[in-house]
Symmetry: C2
Subunit: 419 residues, 2 copies
């Protein structure tokens, strides 16, 4: 019988809608993966009376209560104080925590203000989770069969604390272990993935296989339960293999941060350099590649040629081609890629040109029409035309993001020799 949890966010800024409560989603996903059922989310402001009442409700209906926020140094940060008094626990000033807070300020050449001492006050019997990005440590308490875990509000402080300290702490109470992995897929939609894997997914009990879609990419989360971590990992790798056998090259990585990360590392391993010629993406492809630390080892340069004039001037795209076929054409894409490769001296070059919208669409080339070109040393250039539809939310962002991802996948396939 798995435990039930409630995520209780304390912060007026969330209640007035200035901040979206992404913490609740993040914590819920990780707790679910740990085998804990999250049954409620609650948010209330920095108001002692309302916090107390919400805590009473949470303790009444949940085994585990995870709070976020209200651990800061200011007068309205009262989560710790209220929970300690509710559980009848005294607070003491923890020497180690105080030393950590002091050195946090020293390292940054800042003076620690008196109110920061407050953050070293810990309820008796608490387990302390170190905050590697701030001064508000996390705290876990056990009382009357209930577990309460207090985490800081800023995601950059909360997330590593959850991963490094809280999840291991919670797993220590469980008699089985859940392990998850993510299979990253690009080039086919969710429905296609589900139909190709229908037998596998329908029959999946342990491991379970759940699909997630984001920015035109499909991610399959494989979650296995086992008595030991190695037992769970063995189950996962078997299922990963089945998925890869069926989806083949559409799987671009397992537990990788991004498709551009995979591309950078493939280029490094093949000791090749890449260049980009971007029109509709306006620099996004270069930006995403250079989000990957170490990209400098494979990145020659990028040309952001938004106008026809720039395409001609910077890449040597012929005016006759632009005139005959237009900027959004496979012919222009080919010349852009060839130009980028020759001007930069790269081994491989990608080009994109398209209609990202909201305006600029025509009957013949509606918004979402995109051409992706690739030039390869010794192989010349080629290009393909795509129509990127089915956006949710900001269409322009969606088209630009998906165009960049498609370009990355085109390069990956080329490097894998399956083009």
């Amino acid at each position: 019988m798995s435990k039930t949890a409630e995520i209780f966010c304390i912060g007026t800024e969330v209640l007035i809608g200035d901040i979206v409560n992404t913490n609740a989603a993040y914590i819920s996903r990780r707790l679910s993966e740990t085998g804990i059922n999250v049954y409620h989310h609650t948010v209330c402001g920095d108001n002692p009376e309302r916090i107390k009442k919400c805590l009473d409700i949470a303790f009444d209906r949940s085994d585990i209560v995870v709070t976020t926020g209200g651990l800061g140094p200011t007068y309205d940060d009262i989560t710790k104080e209220i929970i300690a008094s509710k559980l009848g626990l005294e607070m003491y000033e923890d020497k180690e925590v105080l030393a950590r807070i002091t050195s946090f300020f020293d390292k940054r050449g800042l003076k620690m203000t008196e109110n920061n001492r407050k953050q070293a006050l810990i309820p008796k019997g608490a387990v302390i989770f170190e905050n590697i990005h701030g001064t508000a440590d996390g705290i876990a308490l056990q009382s009357g069969g209930k577990t309460v875990i207090m985490l800081p509000g800023p995601p950059r402080e909360m997330e590593p604390m959850l991963e490094n300290s809280v999840i291991p702490y919670l797993k220590s109470f469980s008699d089985h272990i859940l392990v998850s992995s993510n299979v990253h897929i690009f080039g086919i939609g969710e429905s296609t993935v589900e139909s190709l894997l229908s037998d596998l997914m329908k029959s999946s009990v342990n491991p379970t296989v759940a699909p997630y879609v984001n920015a035109g990419e499909v991610r399959l989360r494989v979650t296995a339960s086992g008595k030991t971590e190695s037992e769970a990992k063995k189950l996962i790798s078997e299922t990963e293999k089945k998925i890869s056998d069926i989806l083949g090259n559409y799987v671009y990585g397992i537990d990788v941060p991004s498709i551009e990360y995979v591309l950078v590392n493939k280029l490094l391993s093949q000791n090749k350099k890449i260049a980009f010629a971007e029109s509709c993406t306006g620099g996004l492809i270069s930006k995403r590649l250079t989000d990957v630390p170490g990209a400098s080892g494979v990145f020659c340069c990028g040309f952001v040629t938004y106008s026809n004039e720039a395409k001609t001037k910077m890449l040597g795209v012929s005016e006759s081609t632009l005139k005959a076929y237009g900027a959004v054409s496979v012919q222009t894409a080919c010349e852009m890629a060839s130009g980028a490769m020759s001007k930069s001296g790269s081994d491989i070059a990608l080009s994109v040109t398209g209609v990202a919208g909201p305006s600029g669409g025509t009957e013949e080339k509606p918004v979402g029409t995109v051409c992706i070109g690739i030039a390869v040393k010794g192989k010349g250039a080629r290009a393909k035309k795509l129509f990127l539809g089915g956006h949710k939310g900001n269409q322009r962002d969606f088209i630009r993001t998906l165009t960049a991802s498609n370009a990355f996948k085109t390069a990956l396939d080329e490097l894998d020799g399956i083009s």
Copy 2:
């Protein structure tokens, strides 16, 4: 005495963390601006017992309960049914609603399934809010001094319904209205803003002035209450003027989407074209400028020159300069900007070169050292060196984002003639 509200989201997908509850933030912001105090957010899954209990709690502590989700056609969409039975209201099949649902399917050449009839069942005495993007209409009920409003879960259905129907419905109960505006500031930190405006902010009651910080930018939200919209707006504009008088040029816009948006429109109004030479930002500056629809009217081109070789090859930065001063230097930044302007034929060109980290820092040039150059037709080039510290979270993202924003501000100041 303004009313208190609770946003109650019903949906298992939110509880397991597959969806972030952006609806709660959106509704909270709009209700706050309407003068309604949102005191609680609650989320629970598609479970009748837990939904009932959460509703009891919500009705007990809130004047207005706004639910999202659970209005669909499937068996687990039960929000309407549970609330109707809780309030002891019978349901009837609404002819108009049914007609609308039927035509919704006809228009799309789809066959209406029998379970969609369920969506035409309305509790007696309800006010109906038409759903222009789907088949799940919204519903408002008044009972025992409480107001309950049921909205569909998908944001693209919920948001227009909230704007077009729910806000006007709620305003009809209110005797005053709140209006907000945002003053956007760049170049000074939150603490400096607060000290410069301390008198204004301390004494601010109507309008209130609240600071928010994001990606190195400070935003002041000015919120005024008035009997009429024009009365509130008058109060706001007076406070906006006071802020601008004190902060002067640090205020780059009021109620603007971004600093790049302001730059694009200033360039358009002065009929000037811009080019970029980017090293550490790796295309982010071009990307952000082209996030603004219409940027093509002012954007010549971008050079992403990550390596020294590219700086020399593409921009004509002299090898001796790179050798003598290094890539991260005001000298290199100047030559990058000059090169970008001459190669592109733009009126103005920005360049950035710096150490974004995580690696690459030295004693002399630690991570966060950034040089920003600007070249202006007829004025030559100049550059400044900055140290961007104090990041929260991902340092590399922070430095790249702040570098881009600083570059945009440099161009804005130049165009404003205050450089």
